[in-house]
Symmetry: C2
Subunit: 474 residues, 2 copies
Amino acid sequence: MKNKAITSRDVDFAKWYTDVVKAAHLASYTNVKGCIAIEPNGYAIWEKMQAILDKKFKELGHVNVQMPLLIPENLMKKESELVEGFAPEVAWVTMGGSKELEERLCIRPTSETMFSDYYATHVKSYKDLPLLYNQWCNVLRWEKETRPFLRSREFLWQEGHTIHATKEEAEEETRRMMDVYKWFHHEILAIPSITGLKTDKEKFSGAEYTLTNEALMYNGVSLQAGTSHYFGQKFSSAYGIKFTNKENEEEYAYQTSWGTTTRMIGGLIMVHSDDKGLVLPPKIAPKQVVIIPIGNDERVLELSEKINKELSENNIISYIDKTDKTPGFKFAEAEVNGIPLRIEIGLRNLENNEITFTRRDTSEKINQNININILEYVKNLLETIQKDMYERALKRRNELTFEARNLEEVKKIINTQPGFIKADWCGSLECELKMKEINGIKSRCILEHEKPLTGKCVVCGENAKHLVVWGIQY
Amino acid sequence: MKNKAITSRDVDFAKWYTDVVKAAHLASYTNVKGCIAIEPNGYAIWEKMQAILDKKFKELGHVNVQMPLLIPENLMKKESELVEGFAPEVAWVTMGGSKELEERLCIRPTSETMFSDYYATHVKSYKDLPLLYNQWCNVLRWEKETRPFLRSREFLWQEGHTIHATKEEAEEETRRMMDVYKWFHHEILAIPSITGLKTDKEKFSGAEYTLTNEALMYNGVSLQAGTSHYFGQKFSSAYGIKFTNKENEEEYAYQTSWGTTTRMIGGLIMVHSDDKGLVLPPKIAPKQVVIIPIGNDERVLELSEKINKELSENNIISYIDKTDKTPGFKFAEAEVNGIPLRIEIGLRNLENNEITFTRRDTSEKINQNININILEYVKNLLETIQKDMYERALKRRNELTFEARNLEEVKKIINTQPGFIKADWCGSLECELKMKEINGIKSRCILEHEKPLTGKCVVCGENAKHLVVWGIQY
């Protein structure tokens, strides 16, 4: 049943999105312009994202640290491209207590500056390297147009900052971490993202190159969700991070950074959710199974407790809804909040020796004999839901992935149904800017391992260097 | 053996403290005045503190959220006592990008404002209550004198903010969370803190009353480490948080807040550490056991792996130091970093059928037959270390807890050896201020369940209302 508080996804996608955010209690607007309050249901998703990614980072040898929130202006200015890229969108602290500050401080929009300044005093020899540091924190960018999770002035993220003795090792790290983000999207979020290289125009300010993870939303709009940057010696030369290498010579170190943000919550919503509210893949759902007893019969409650205990003891996050709401209200609440699997147990069920399972993703109701191995059944069903959600998202992505051989085709596609548009590109900024004139289309990424379609740039007709995925973005 | 990079604790306590912070790689000064970089060893302690406290908070029904970092000035001003208390020490954002802001925003020094503003729009009926919210985040206070962990402009903390339908429930929550902090200090940090009520002068700006957890450092200086505030209806009336109660009448809600910070890392150091570096109680140590193989003999390495595997599989956090440093260097490193237990395994040990265990807290070396149940032995030894560390800290606290019956005695104590000074108090601000004239002594807390010593105020000689613990503080 459609949720009355939620606009239909096909009628007004933008409104649908904010309705879902609100109805599922993920976030709330605040009286701080452009900043949201992340509510318990939203923060629980972020906590699970953090736990899974943090474990993976640590398995790969990373450790967590915490650098200062505030960056003195002179430090920020040391790397010219970084400051040019971020200066228009930082918030400045100019007063401490009642005193005007001698030097203003910006609230970090990203922390290359503070990590580089730290490395400059702590890295001396190749024996100190690599340092594989990461931090979980808040950052701030003075955005004009904001949307919950997708773009807000303050957001939460992790930023990995690593420093290495060789170019090869730093480049390997850059790719390894992009592989982690891809794995996280495909395996955990059930989002069939694509990865590739950003064009020079779209790369991170101060990077030699940027790898990106791009997800396609249900409406065909792209979402950049995770980037990994190779800096080479750009920051180390700007900040004076020299070390003595194995040959006993002084050399500037090689750096990377990589990050993912609370924006992924927005991506999760816009890939999987529907007109009834949130739909979450079981692997990222903070609560995977809700058991709803119908009525107060002792046998019903006992069986509910028994099933809940068995699931909970076997790494399935389940709970019994014991509130005094009506069953219908409980169903609707579990639905809007995106609990992947609902188990109903009533007296009638017991009389028929049946339990009813309801999948959130398909709304399918399945009656099963009470004597099956419920733990195994639930495990398998959650896996099936995860797999099916991925397959559906992949099907949608494939349906919305187009090929264009000339500008007319690009225009036709974007005016009919936006999506990923594959088209050849000569590599010039000029042609990239001409694409942008068409509904704001931007290059999403260069597909490094795919050959051009026609061999000719879709804009100018000159020889193509790359096959690029284009699209409009959040 | 004394660590050469560390000043002796009895020679210069302040220098000893910063030496330990540096030598154990807990934190580093930065080029941002008053702000530190928390390094991997320090952050790992914070992560463990977070994990243990967060689990406890959740068991008690709390959920995590995230409110904005920035607070508009007009919102902050709604509760007059809060703004008076914090205005002198907040940082102000006055520019976003290149534009001057119409209204300046302060970086949160604490978040009563944002939680209250949120509750004002989300709480409508007693059915919505209680809301038991907590957030893990950074806050900023424009301190003049700073010290790593103990007092820095930016620090990390958790702040619980709860809202209730009745006074009784909110007061219960205030006490329950102080009990959690006390449990955490006694059971996990092995710090025998005392708890009690703050005087009106020392309570939180805007609170009806504040409960506090006070720890005594090795040098007799007090550290406030965890407070829990009962707000009554002060914030709810200032921010208009009304709800319909069970009697269908509108009523202002009842609020609490409670917090602990990275300052606890400073407390851990100053209670337990020594001239060799950090000493950590096993329950909070990010790494509990280090295994150091001596030499490269196959049997030595095999046994090291076997023991490490057995410990790791049984919830003991152990690792093998496989670096190519010398054994002596590895011992020193494990020592300065405060690994509670060191296991050395060499060829000579194997020939004697022995393994050597070395306790970090006492430096005691214990040889054990190789055929004992090592898992059980290590488990018990870690428990013994935890218990012994608590007992030593308790002994020190008791030795440095004094009773004073008049001002002469107060002066004599504080000039000989600072500590917790128990003395009667009439309850007047005047007498509290007179105590402050003596070396800056402040009331630490009112002992709610203990009777006055003499019945007469230690300052004015009038009738005493409370037995108070006084001391000098960080």
